[in-house]
Symmetry: C2
Subunit: 416 residues, 2 copies
């Protein structure tokens, strides 16, 4: 641990995190925001809606960190444990906060709903905290300080927490600690295994300066490489950039992007810069490629849409796939995905088209075409290409891999 | 904490978890599996690739729990820290495991790739552990025991970890601890706020027996209610069922499902049981509804597919939306989504069709139709319906809400 950095712990509260009903996405988002201002997250802890467990976590994490961000355990039905506990932990008493009360009243007025006692109680806070107003919900946030450690309690609802972080917590932490920067540079490679990549760059890795760290992040069958520079040496940023440039040269032949972005965004930027358009026709991925593409703001500039041709009938009706092709080669075949891609491209008038057809599992596999068999078809003016993949995982992961690798095949096809 | 239950902690290792580059989905999955056999997860902790932090986490968590599951920190490039540390922590020395070595050789043979030194090192393990063979990758798992506490170390790659959990760890934990069951019953409501729900069932909640606990889980603008029963009293299961039946009656008018499943599965089961079919035409949701529907295994029985009509041209070409409708009412309107739904239903011959059109942000809003405006159109033989939603969040959440609420509107439309 680099002691020049301000160190944080994140505590998330809720039984739903411990029984696996909810995936904790808050922590990852908070960690990104903290990193961006130079606060290093040393630990993340999840505990249940349990008084002793929460109290213990506060005690323990305050030994590790100077900043403790807490989410969850607030809200009209969850208040009963966390708020009185925080009040006692920091030695205060509960009072009504006029700002929070006005906010609760305002929200209920807007929703045109009657206020009930339970909602009014949300405006009560310990008198030893600074209240963080919630512009997106009824539960206020709370900022405490004790023996030089800052504790911030926020609701677990992601968009409420995010509003408080952006609007108050991040600027206030910058003000309070003036942390030294932590910088990350990330690139994405495809088509090379983690251990081969490691062999190729082991000399580079061994010569990295002490304050720059390399990490390997396998991701959907690709590998991300991340360089992290820490500390307040003013030369660190330039040094990090120089090392990153060297790393990029070493992996140039397998490089997808030298920024921390996903393939949908990379494909979108290529199309956008060329003023070209894309359509999709998805069988096995069921709309997931369209979803990934349209997750990027502004995708309507280059994405026209297309078809989800889950049934054979729709492969014929929406893309003009010939019945003969389906009966001779099957729906999961080079011939079918090429006809799908060309068919949807003709019908939409797009510059490029991508088609998928495969068997995602758990059922539907045959000895010839086992579960995980995926064909991707690509079409452009006067040319076409098809790729075959064999994934070995469950339905969800096979779908993710098919979409990501399909989009990477499209990226290479566009750039040819 | 109910001491009659076996208590576990989950430790996840990796800087990527602390800088927010990766969302920890492993913990939620592991927690579900542990719960199912009656092991209660008391805490989840994430630490970085840092010797001291890992050592400290092992020390601390062994005070809280009798079972400690560890993921991450293994793999061809990550081995350097975790494995020697575990070896030292449990007082062993590194030896080659013949089973793990054969597995590494087998995998590289299958991939037709040369073996390098780095890969062979993966077969080395501390001689004080029981080796858990990895059928899905090269890094073996390790089972240690120390002062009555079981420590299991597994790779962080989800499908490798899952293979070891299902194939070895879960049965071995059952064998070792014979834990008392933990049972959950969950229902999903829509159309009622959390605080109103709480008012409605507060008498019910106050009369719950000590070993049954109620939790509220807000989810995409809906609320899940979960009853959890713990302990080895043989009457617990019947008692839990009786309480759950009572709860279900109290919320009957707002009930979506009385099982722990999502709306796509609920819609699928209704269609499946009736032998009816569905098609989709998505503008603002960009394929996400199709993706949710096809995430359910066997969805090809009732889902035909449809169109992603992101551009107006495709709304006309693929669903026959009239140019006059688009120019008079705009793409985001009752009139357009009804024509889309009826158009795609006609073209696919499905029993039901759902259409979406909206403005997801961050750009594209107008005073009349601000960001978050969504219209959902529904069509069946001889009838149609449209719903208007106004979401207030970011692009991703608006998309999720539009898809979930759209599918719930479809569910009600089918059941009319």
């Amino acid at each position: 641990m680099d002691t020049r950095n301000t160190v944080a712990s994140i505590i998330t509260i809720g039984d739903e995190l411990l029984i696996g009903q909810t995936v904790d996405t808050n922590s990852a988002w908070m960690a990104q925001e903290l990193n961006a201002i130079g606060v290093w997250v040393h630990r993340r802890v999840s505990v249940g809606d349990d008084r002793d467990a929460i109290w213990q976590a506060l005690d323990e994490e305050s030994k590790h960190a100077r900043v403790i961000l807490i989410t969850g355990g607030l809200g009209p039905t969850a208040d009963d444990i966390t708020k009185p506990l925080l009040c006692q932990y920091f030695g205060g008493r509960m009072v009504v906060d006029e700002g929070a009360l006005a906010n609760v009243r305002h929200i209920f007025q807007m929703l045109n709903r009657p206020l009930i006692e339970r909602n009014l109680k949300q405006a009560e806070v310990p008198d030893v905290c600074t209240v963080i107003q919630n512009r997106r919900g009824t539960a206020p946030g709370m900022w405490f300080e004790k023996e030089g450690v800052v504790f911030v309690s926020m609701p677990g609802v992601p968009h409420e927490m995010k509003g408080m972080m952006k609007g108050y917590v991040i600027p206030a932490l910058q003000d309070r600690f003036r942390p030294a920067p932590i910088l990350h540079r990330t690139l994405l490679t495809a088509g090379i295994g983690e251990s081969f990549l490691a062999e190729r760059i082991k000399e580079f890795e061994s010569t990295l300066p002490r304050n720059i760290k390399l990490a390997y992040l396998p991701s959907y069958g690709m590998v991300k490489l991340r360089l992290t520079g820490r500390g307040d040496d003013p030369r660190m940023e330039a040094e990090l950039q120089a090392e990153f440039d060297m790393l990029r040269q070493l992996v140039e032949d397998v490089l997808v992007t030298d920024e921390d972005k996903g393939i949908p965004q990379v494909v979108g930027e290529i199309l956008s810069s060329r003023g070209q358009t894309l359509s999709t026709i998805e069988s096995c991925t069921g709309g997931y490629i369209g979803h990934l593409i349209t997750s990027v703001p502004g995708s309507s500039r280059y994405y026209l849409g297309g078809a989800v041709a889950y049934s054979n009938t729709l492969k014929m009706a929406l893309a003009g796939v010939r019945p003969d092709t389906l009966s001779a080669h099957g729906a999961v075949s080079r011939e079918t995905v090429l006809e799908m891609a060309n068919g949807i491209r003709d019908r939409t008038g797009s510059d490029f088209a991508i088609a998928t057809s495969g068997i995602m599992g758990p059922d539907g596999g045959t000895p010839d075409k086992p579960v995980g068999t995926v064909w991707v078809g690509l079409a452009a003016a006067g040319r076409e290409a098809a790729s075959h993949f064999q994934f070995r995982f469950d339905r969800q992961r096979n779908t993710e891999l098919a979409a990501t690798h399909g989009l990477n095949a499209l990226r290479k096809f566009i750039l040819v």
